[in-house]
Symmetry: C2
Subunit: 283 residues, 2 copies
């Protein structure tokens, strides 16, 4: 992706805007913070309308545009769609309608899976909307120039988001639900498994226990953070000010719940959470 004239001289100091339907995208935020310690970050969680995974394409596009408009208004230098559902449904529209660079999690995750699978079957787990979109299949097939067929196994796991959101992370019930969803996946002996939902890294241990160590686990959040670093470096957009990086969190509802649950996702205290209810009316 080429940088447009959007950037002013001091654009490197501008924050990166990251959004998700709720708290799941904090696993992506965490990876970005780890890999890019100098960047100012703004996170938006759409907790008034969470979850996205069982909603329609049209609605998810509308919500994603509203949030992107809000982040653009907050003078971000780029957008990271830290939600697989929104990435699979809305990325194309956002890139067409907004001038700044927009990154999603699907492309980086698909690239990593393509490289690591060595032609073996690739499994993808995600929300109903992500799986229905076939976004990962399409991305992997686009990368594949060998002419050899790559088998892709796609499995929707709609109950995993509510289980994680309720904090049943170490529960036997969650283990049993994971087992049921992964049963048809494991039968196909995948060489790698894409965690195609930003909530899933939280229950990675349960997933690994089920699928065994023969399949490489791909965390799309980590992959997008790495791609971001390459992009910022290449385009001379890294924030090298040396000033301690700022972090701001916005949610459309229930900031207290976001704080409490989000700390489990982020592994540290969350400060600066602001609730902003009419964000879609602002611009």
């Amino acid at each position: 992706m080429e940088v447009t004239h959007f950037f002013e001289m001091n654009s490197a100091k501008k924050p990166i805007g990251i959004f998700d339907s709720g708290i799941g995208g904090l696993t992506v935020f965490k990876e970005i913070r780890k890999i890019l310690p100098g960047e100012n970050l703004i996170y938006f969680g759409d907790t008034a309308r969470v979850p996205y995974g069982n909603k329609s394409k049209e609605t998810i596009i509308r919500y994603s545009k509203e949030i992107t408009r809000f982040l653009v208004g907050s003078k971000v230098k780029m957008i990271v769609v830290a939600c697989n559902t929104a990435s699979s449904m809305a990325l194309r529209t956002l890139r067409k309608e907004f001038e700044l660079p927009v990154f999603g999690v699907i492309g980086p995750g698909a690239m990593s899976a393509y490289k690591k699978s060595n032609g073996g079957p690739v499994a993808v787990i995600g929300t109903a909307a992500t799986i229905q979109s076939r976004a990962y299949s399409l991305a992997i097939n686009n990368l594949n120039k060998t002419g050899e067929h790559i088998e892709i196994i796609e499995q929707a796991c709609p109950l995993l988001v509510p289980l994680v959101e309720e904090g049943w992370v170490y529960s036997d019930v969650t283990a049993e639900v994971v087992r049921r969803y992964l049963k048809p996946v494991i039968e196909k002996k995948p060489s790698c498994l894409i965690l195609g939902c930003t909530h899933y890294p939280i229950i990675k241990k349960l997933i690994v226990k089920e699928i065994g160590k023969t399949a490489v686990i791909i965390d799309s959040g980590k992959e997008v953070a790495l791609e971001l670093k390459r992009f910022l470096t290449k385009n001379n957009m890294l924030n090298k000010s040396g000033v301690k990086a700022a972090e701001h969190f916005f949610v459309s509802d229930a900031p207290e719940k976001f704080k409490i649950l989000g700390e489990n996702f982020l592994g540290k205290k969350i400060r600066n959470v602001k609730v902003i209810r009419d964000f879609f009316m602002i611009l």
Copy 2:
């Protein structure tokens, strides 16, 4: 509640407006249809923002007002809030801000529990928001003029809505989740149990199996339908036109999914489902 001047001469023929965060309210719709076969009914399911049970009071009030405004614009003669979360959070505001009669599920459910409990402990299960509001406790204590203390056991069961929405109605996993939620409830030996969420009648069998037959099960949806009939009869507002009653369904997203899932709730084919995305901009 007294009838206001809102009603015109032919107001009896006007439809009853029923709303819920999604499909759960269809269990209330079903009871109303059974008890009031001559009434025209309009149902609104807010599927673009479902669920409500984990959202804040302020947001639930805003959503409920937007939907009520839409239904008032559709010329309904009254409103039934067929959602325990919205009833517990928004009923007072709706009654204050709108002129037409507004019914919720909490009052009728609490009344039935008060009568049937014979002073024994009353258990309430519901979403996090409903339980946090303590709406059932407050309503039962308001009814109780005996001076005797009534023990009320309140238990949030946030995972039951997603399990029902995913159709895991006969699953061992759902049975296990019900068992875990009900364990502390059963220990208190309640004389009755209020199904304080319109999704729960769908898994009533699992709940009865767990709690046994010593506790009377109260379905608030059925109770509000009975109260509605009393109110319409008393105020001469029953639709006696003899014309086959009409049914219209509106959703804010994903009408096809609503049709398919909704048929399980309603026990019959659903026709006339319209998606209306900008309903909150209309008035």
